[in-house]
Amino acid sequence: MIKTINTYFNRQTSTAPLAVFRILFGLLMCISIIRFWSKGWINSLYIEPDFHFSYYGFEWVKPLGSYTYILFLICGISSLLVALGYKYRLAILVFFLSFTYIELMDKTTYLNHYYFVSVISFIMLFLPCNAQFSLDVVTKNKSYEKVPSWTIDSLKLMLGIVYFYAGLTKINSDWLCSAMPLKLWLKSKYDLPYIGQTIMQQDWFHFLMSWGGMFYDLSIPFLLLYKKTRSFAFILVIGFHIATRILFPIGMFPYIMIFSTLLFFDSNFHIRILEFFKNGIKILKIRTTSLTNNTSKQIKNYTTHKVSHLVITCFLFFQLIIPWRSLLYPGELFWNEQGYRFSWRVMLMEKAGSANFKILDSVTQNYFYVDNNDFLTPVQQKQMSFQPDMILEYGHYLGNHFKSQGHKNVAVFVESYVSLNGRLSQQFIDPLANLMELKETFKHKHWITPLNDEIKGF
């Protein structure tokens, strides 16, 4: 058994896929940061708001005022260094830390694809992605033709987990039996030329997209694995992600996924991409001799450390387990959102809410309502209004705010209503629960009013 494992970890494969992946990932991340910056989101999401929603245990992670720009600058520069493969280990470490810090600053902006970037960059910390076609090769004068194949496999497995779990979570009665929420979203795309007022409005099309999306997510990792179906699968990947790009505002995610799936192609394909890059560099009249391995010392095999094997194995195991944690909670997952994040549950809900906070003096029984506009941005209000942990955190913030203003015996109540996947709205949080007396924990939130409907499936 141990022998088999050791043999596996020592099996070697071409370095080219890792090099291509590093370059594309670094460039895409750099573009993402520039795009984020140019849209003014650093200011509107991290600097303008007075209050930020924290992750449990990460309350100390806060935006840094105007220094937040420097944080983004560091993140952008490190991503570029990753692409160039210059001081790669340090660069990817700085990228992972700065990017993850940015994501932890405010829960409001949680997106699965940001989490995906953190996860991938964590894995890359342990991979020799600079072993070929990098500035490190030039400076250290060492180039590796082969790397252990587990390095590429770990990335493939991670991608497989993302797709497969995204598919599994689509197996629920809302998605498959009512085509919800796709039906609502697609119908609202009436302004698309040609298809907007025709097929986008058709019932059969909503169901086709729902079922097709599920089968796509479940099968694509396997279709990419087998050589015979790989090209076809890649066409599907492009078609699927371009379609989602057209239909939904999902930023850079489609491109990240399209380029990531290139990993599944064999080394000849990647060697050709590297040749293509080399030709591009030649056109720029830069000396490429050292990059093209001619003068640098050719070392055949790169050996990875046992610690890396252990860390990545544990990490991937953890990734397999963590999406299932929602099973530990009673009640409807989509409604309670306990264990919803970090589980590759993508586009499964159209959820909207309204939350009216009431500050009560528990002795005099005098109360007043809060105008959320005084404390939160519209984006924060929207996200807070249907996520119990955010409602609780904001409730505490309000309570403490009014205490510090001299209010006595402060109790905080919320009258909140939420509508889920086209259902009529219903009460969301127990209106008699004093939020000041509740604590955020990993335990079941008994103060959520249960959904009066059942969604079957994952």
Partner: protein
């Protein structure tokens, strides 16, 4: 390899084109909801006629103010007062359309920020230096609330008000009255003309983006329902935002508060008509948010719920004293009951309707999953 890929991509395109082959999909078209015709109905049959009517009424008001300033008799004063009421009622059909030009020049804020600040008004009058166009600090010293003060609040009854204006010492007050009303006429005309000129562009912007006509109109409608109707007319005066300390001086038309109930009933009617797509001042109706909801949900559950809330709120308001100041002092709980009922309406509009129509909340431009 790449050649093969290109071949597959082309194949995919061919497949997708054949899917949208018109001859095939024509049979399948369910009667598709036409958002442009909804925008046309709202613009041509609700917004434009309301502005026409309002601009007429505000001009009549201006004329009667001029007559009053010349004649300075009781009959012309009473004429001004009744024309003010007529214009204020019609205004309730205008206030929710705080978009386009109106938004740009802060039209609604200039017309109806209440309560007016008396010290500001008196200061403007005594110094004679004021810029009603500025967007800084004169919102509380112009528009309907200021007219309300100058015509009902300056003395305790009509004959004393007349005596006040007949006094030559108060000629500056008379001038301010004329300036305020002429400012109202001119900014109304600016907004009305703008509606006429942008009409075609406005109705054709039926896509679903943060800045499209449909989205801004719907968001403004909800904003008005929540802020203009629920908060300003009921919430703030009844003290629900101020720890149960009632603020009866913050009712709309405070100095002539006998009309407060009538004004709020007009406002609720305006909201209901907009939702139903009912033509201004007429019983006929066209495409509206209600039809759009019915198209999206394929049933009438949400529509019925929303219309029921409107009806229930209407009933509750009808049960109030004509004068909200009296109502608040006698039994504030009934005011709060209206606030709560309207809040239930806010939930349905903001949560259910926006979600069903997939209309994004104003100004949000960010990535999703």
């Amino acid at each position: 390899m790449f050649k093969k890929s290109i071949f597959y991509i082309n194949l995919l395109f061919l497949l997708s084109i054949s899917c949208t082959d018109p001859s095939e999909s024509n049979e399948n078209i369910v009667d598709n909801f036409d958002r442009q015709s909804m925008l046309e109905n709202i613009t041509d049959n609700i917004i434009l006629p309301a502005f026409d009517d309002f601009s007429e009424k505000i001009e009549v008001l201006e004329l009667s103010v001029i007559t009053f300033s010349n004649d300075l008799d009781l009959a012309s004063l009473e004429q001004v007062q009744s024309h003010l009421f007529e214009a204020y009622k019609t205004w309730q059909y205008i206030e929710m359309f705080s978009l386009e030009k109106a938004e740009e020049i802060y039209y609604v804020q200039k017309m109806n920020t209440y309560p007016a600040t008396v010290s500001k008004i008196e200061n403007n009058i005594s110094t004679g230096i004021y810029d009603l166009d500025s967007n800084n600090n004169n919102w509380v010293a112009q528009g309907f609330p200021t007219l309300d003060y100058l015509l009902f609040g300056i003395a305790d009854n009509a004959s004393n008000t007349l005596l006040f204006y007949q006094n030559n010492d108060n000629i500056a007050h008379l001038k301010y009255l004329k300036d305020v009303v002429s400012q109202m006429v001119s900014i109304t005309e600016v907004v009305r003309q703008d509606w006429i000129s942008i009409r075609d562009i406005f109705v054709s912007s039926s896509d679903n983006s943060a800045t499209s006509s449909l989205n801004t109109l719907t968001n403004d409608f909800i904003y008005y329902f929540e802020k203009g109707l629920r908060t300003n007319k009921f919430g703030i005066p009844s003290g629900v935002f101020s720890g149960n300390n009632t603020r009866s001086s913050k009712v709309e038309a405070y100095y002539n508060s006998n009309v407060s109930k009538l004004l709020s009933l007009e406002a609720l009617n305006a909201v209901r008509n907009f939702f139903n797509g009912q033509t201004y001042n007429s019983a006929s109706s066209g495409k509206s948010l209600k039809d759009y909801i019915a198209y999206m949900t394929e049933d009438t559950i949400l529509n019925d719920a929303i219309l029921t809330k409107f009806d229930e709120a209407n009933q509750l308001i009808n049960g109030l004293n004509d004068n909200f100041v009296n109502q608040i002092n006698a039994d504030n709980d009934l005011m709060i009951a209206v606030f709560n009922k309207l809040q239930e309406g806010v939930v349905l509009l903001k949560t259910d309707m926006l979600s069903i129509l997939s209309i994004s909340v104003d100004y949000i431009d960010a990535d999703g999953d």
